[in-house]
Amino acid sequence: MRRFPLGGLTLLTAMVLAMLGPVVTVVLWAFAVKWRYPQILPTEWGLKFWAEVLSRQTITGPVLTSLALASVATTAAALICWPAAFAFARLRFPGRQLLLFSFIAAQAVPKFALFLSIAVIFLQLGLVGTFPGVALVQGLSAMLVMIWIPTAAFRAIPPALEEAAFDLGASRLRVFLAVTLPQAMPALAASYVLAFVAVLFEVDSGLLIGAPKVTTMPLTLMTLSAQVVVQDAAVLCVMIWLPCFVLLLLTRRFMTSRGIAEGLGA
């Protein structure tokens, strides 16, 4: 029998606690009605604050707005970025590397400063405080993930897989739908979910472009966290965490290329 690696196990436990500890605390708070200092666990449980939060228009409104914003922004970014990623992976054109690195360069600029200068332009265009304005900025910040991950995925597909399909009589489109897309799909889905979650939790766009008319969920969360009642923020946190968590799990579990290929008639 191998000796139990005690050191490694301790480290593992510490890491898991460090990562999950805060999440657990937030979840506990969301279901706590009374929780005073010396107690390790809440003394009174309940859904009291859930009912309260869900009944407040000022909270549910921004949540729905943010979900809609993230969906629109991420989908729009996907429609632009995925074909671009395919081009980056397959075509050799001058300035290809430069263009790819420009995405990273843009990402390295602090969001706040970037959005501030965009806000100045949007002010003239009448986009500040509008849904399309915020969606546009959020879509912009989703682009890096949506370009780099899919480009790598498309590039990782062995050319012989596509050649074999083409050689057996498939049209270029058929090759793409039956071979290329299913192979890249898990990465595409992952990039979508990652970008969606990042956009959903992003504060600056709502602060600089959305205010005062479009209020996003992270802004509401900040306002609530600053208040005395911890539970309101915790409830909102769990409310928004759950769908994101499920979404991330789904990517792993169901976005296998096999299922998608059959859906596309490969």
């Binding site: 012989a160 074999a164 083409f166 050689d167 057996l168 049209s171 296998t256 096999r258 998608i260 290929a261």
Partner: protein, 350 residues
């Protein structure tokens, strides 16, 4: 069946294939043989239509297909990496070409099953490529091609990633199947043993051009160039200068009608014991099973390799005498003639 004329292809200014002509008869199994970078894969891909030629013409079954893309040519290719689609089951992989052709479902199922049966993988239809061994994957790749009934089967080093035993048995199966179907096949390999075993005809390539084409035994017996001689089987190679109608080989003078700098080449099995032959000392003996490979050293310090049946086994350190029954004479790369050397004089050097 296949008629290639004046085919050339270069990649980014580097020529990969220069002005190549080749004709292949229906039902023939032709091996393209050569070291990596000799243009054999390029030639195969030109025939498949995966890449277009810079110049030249490709006739398949009498039709000019030079400009036809791969998906409309009657060829099917087996790739070195098997290139099975990992997200499709074996049955879906094999049936792909039929689905593309819009065949009815029942017909696809029947043909897929027949193709799998043909490669000995009946009942594997629900497996995924990741659940197959290397040999099985390559059989599926073959079935995927056979099922669309191509006029020409193209194989790009299909067995080179497999172990020696498996390679040998797959070769035999392929040969039998190809015979039975009468399928015109072009097989690319860098393994001369594989080419010798499989091919009706071997096309030896070097630096983007065809060096020689002949049957396996023709190539072995009459290599047209020194590089073919050294690539197909083994050769004992000696540099020599012929003067006054004679040339020295292993300290013996041999009658030679041509003069000048020559290369003399002799197959290891063409050396025979001869009491008046060239003396040599046995350095090392390698047991090849049916034969022994004996490494020898002449008194002039020249290394020789001798292949001999086990019965004639000498011992290391022994001194023996050998004489070649055939000697290929090259000037530069070109074969001048093959002679049965006669001993002129007997002068002991050692």
């Amino acid at each position: 069946m296949i008629d290639l004329s004046d085919l050339s292809k270069s990649f980014g200014g580097t020529p990969a294939l220069t002005s190549t002509r080749l004709k292949i008869a229906p039902g023939e199994l032709v091996c393209l043989l050569g070291p990596s970078g000799c243009g054999k894969s390029t030639l195969l891909r030109l025939i498949s239509g995966l890449i277009p030629p810079d110049t030249g013409r490709i006739l398949l079954d009498g039709q000019d297909m030079t400009q036809t893309p791969a998906n409309r040519r009657p060829t099917a290719m087996v790739f070195q990496s098997h290139a099975l689609w990992p997200h499709m089951t074996v049955a879906r992989n094999v049936g792909f070409g039929l689905r593309v052709r819009g065949l009815p479902r029942s017909e696809i199922a029947a043909k897929t099953e027949a193709a799998l049966e043909m490669v000995g993988l009946r009942g594997f239809d629900r497996r995924l490529p990741s659940e197959l061994s290397g040999g099985q994957a390559q059989r599926v790749a073959l079935a995927r091609c056979l099922v669309v009934a191509p006029k020409v089967l193209l194989m790009d080093e299909p067995f080179s990633a497999l172990d020696a035993h498996l390679r040998k048995s797959l070769r035999e199966e392929l040969k039998a199947l190809q015979r039975r179907l009468g399928l015109t096949t072009i097989f690319v390999t860098h393994d001369q043993e594989e080419a010798m075993e499989l091919a009706d005809r071997i096309v030896v390539m070097k630096k983007g051009a065809i060096e020689q084409e002949d049957t396996p035994s023709g190539l072995y017996a009459c290599p047209a160039t020194l590089s073919v001689a050294q690539f197909i089987g083994q050769m004992n190679v000696t540099l020599a200068t012929a003067r006054d109608g004679c040339v020295a080989w292993g300290g013996r003078r041999i009658e030679m009608p041509v003069s000048g700098d020559l290369t003399l080449a002799c197959r290891p099995e063409d050396l025979l014991p001869d009491p008046q032959g060239v003396p040599a000392e046995v350095i090392r003996i390698t047991d090849l099973g049916p034969l022994l490979r004996v490494a020898l050293m002449t008194p002039q310090g020249e290394a020789l390799t001798w292949l001999t049946p086990r019965a004639a086994a000498p011992l290391p350190g022994a001194r023996i005498r050998l004489w070649p029954r055939a000697l290929h004479v090259f000037r530069g790369e070109t074969l001048l003639e093959t002679i049965q050397p006669q001993r002129l004089t007997l002068e002991e050097d050692a």
